[in-house]
């Protein structure tokens, strides 16, 4: 193939991929959960000196030294990371201790208090931090916890599981509630109510003609 043509084709393909990528990103643009996930804080280490910013209000100078450690929201840390200004570290909720606890008894770890958006945040962080096992760790954590949710979600009453609910992350809670509400709807249908809604005008007594 003509090398020039090949280059054009490759460029075209690249632009299509970029477009699809930006479209997929836009899909969650108005998603409030996605916005909240991006507000989660990530520890970063600055690689370059940055002038004219006040990250710490009590700092004496208006610049950030290279090598200083700061916690920044994900959306900012992400951009800085891509520009190689700062390097992301693994956030506290994915530390070794959490990993060990999840490995020991995944179903009864209180993930809600560590990070409400544990999985979504993990998915965003995984390609950026140096921890290569993050993806498989998230998957295995979700798999263990899924079984527990499945066992509880479709049967007993809501109140019996308030302890379980206080452990679950946002995604898991959504899953649990989806199961609960569909089961409740089924029970409501089975017990049955009035099959016909009576129009409100029908019940009234006729007004006496004056």
């Amino acid at each position: 193939m003509d090398p020039l043509l090949q280059e054009t084709v490759l460029e075209k393909a690249g632009s299509i991929v970029r477009k699809v990528g930006s479209f997929l990103k836009m899909e969650s643009y108005y998603d409030i959960d996605d916005i909240l996930v991006e507000g989660q804080r990530v520890p970063v280490v600055f690689q370059q000196a940055v002038n004219g910013v006040d990250i710490d209000p009590s700092a004496e100078t208006h610049c950030v030294e290279p090598g200083s450690k700061v916690e920044l929201p994900y959306w900012l840390a992400h951009e800085l990371h891509l520009r190689k200004v700062a390097k992301m570290k693994v956030p506290a909720c994915f530390n070794q201790r959490t990993k060990l606890e999840l490995g020991a008894d995944g179903a009864s770890v209180d993930l809600r208090s560590r990070c409400l958006y544990f999985y979504e945040f993990g998915c965003k962080i995984a390609p950026l931090v140096s921890d290569r096992d993050m993806g498989s760790f998230l998957l295995s954590a979700f798999r263990t916890r899924y079984q527990k949710i499945l066992a509880k979600a479709h049967n007993a009453a809501f109140t019996a599981h308030s302890k379980l609910l206080s452990y679950l992350t946002k995604e898991e809670t959504n899953l649990y509630e989806a199961a609960q509400s569909s089961m409740a709807a089924f029970k409501k249908w089975r017990i049955g109510g009035p099959r016909f809604e009576r129009a409100s005008v029908l019940g009234r007594k006729r007004k006496e003609a004056n």
């Binding site: 096992d133 899924y146 079984q147 499945l150 979600a153 899953l175």
Partner: protein
């Protein structure tokens, strides 16, 4: 097509599934004489006293309410058949017995409107309740095992409309989550994974579907 009762959730309510079930045909024995009914969905009748004819469930119920017919319960609603099905359901933990797609709704409609036409009503009702509970437990246990296979699909045969409808929101979300977490972007180094857990990665290629 999504359910109409709640615009935010794509799930049918019990009433909507029941509405769909009312299109199933059922045999009635009219006690009056009537010309054929020409409906959009087909022609029904003519109706002669004591001559059995096939009509949709909704028409049967409408006639029944006016005392114009008796409904013959479908063959699968006999005590012997249901007992057999219940036993088979309890015996095998994996397979589901073949029942009409709308068996939950049809039986419930018949119990509500034509309870007098069903022989051994009490027995039939409790058998159907038992079958439904047994099947639902099996649905749950089959969902428990599907995530071992590391697949983004699950295959369960012979589920009925109502059973599918009850688990739909949960299963949909769960599969989505598994798909997201299992995507190759997030699990980027299969060789490192396979060094740690060879059996898990072997399963990915070979078993895309869990057969039942």
């Amino acid at each position: 097509m999504a359910g109409q009762s709640d615009p935010n959730v794509s799930i049918f309510s019990g009433e909507e599934v029941e509405f769909m079930a009312e299109d199933e045909m059922v045999e009635i024995v009219p006690n009056m004489r009537m010309e054929p009914l020409n409906m959009l969905c087909g022609d029904f009748g003519p109706f002669y006293p004591q001559m059995a004819t096939q009509v949709p469930m909704w028409l049967a119920i409408a006639l029944k309410k006016r005392g114009k017919c008796t409904i013959r319960p479908p063959e699968w609603m006999s005590v012997e058949n249901l007992t057999q099905i219940l036993e088979a359901e309890r015996e095998s933990q994996a397979a589901f017995q073949v029942l009409p797609f709308h068996y939950v709704e049809i039986s419930s409609l018949l119990f509500d409107y034509a309870s007098g036409d069903i022989p051994d009503l009490y027995m039939v009702r409790s058998l159907i309740n038992d079958i439904r509970d047994a099947r639902f437990l099996k649905v749950e246990s089959s969902l428990e095992s599907f995530e071992d296979a590391r697949s983004s699909a699950v295959k369960v045969k012979n589920l009925s409309a109502m059973e599918v409808n009850v688990v739909r929101p949960f299963v949909g979300r769960a599969l989505q989550a598994f798909y997201k977490h299992g995507s190759p972007d997030l699990v980027p180094n299969p060789e490192a994974m396979s060094a740690r857990r060879p059996q898990a990665t072997d399963n990915i290629q070979r078993r895309p579907l869990r057969r039942r």
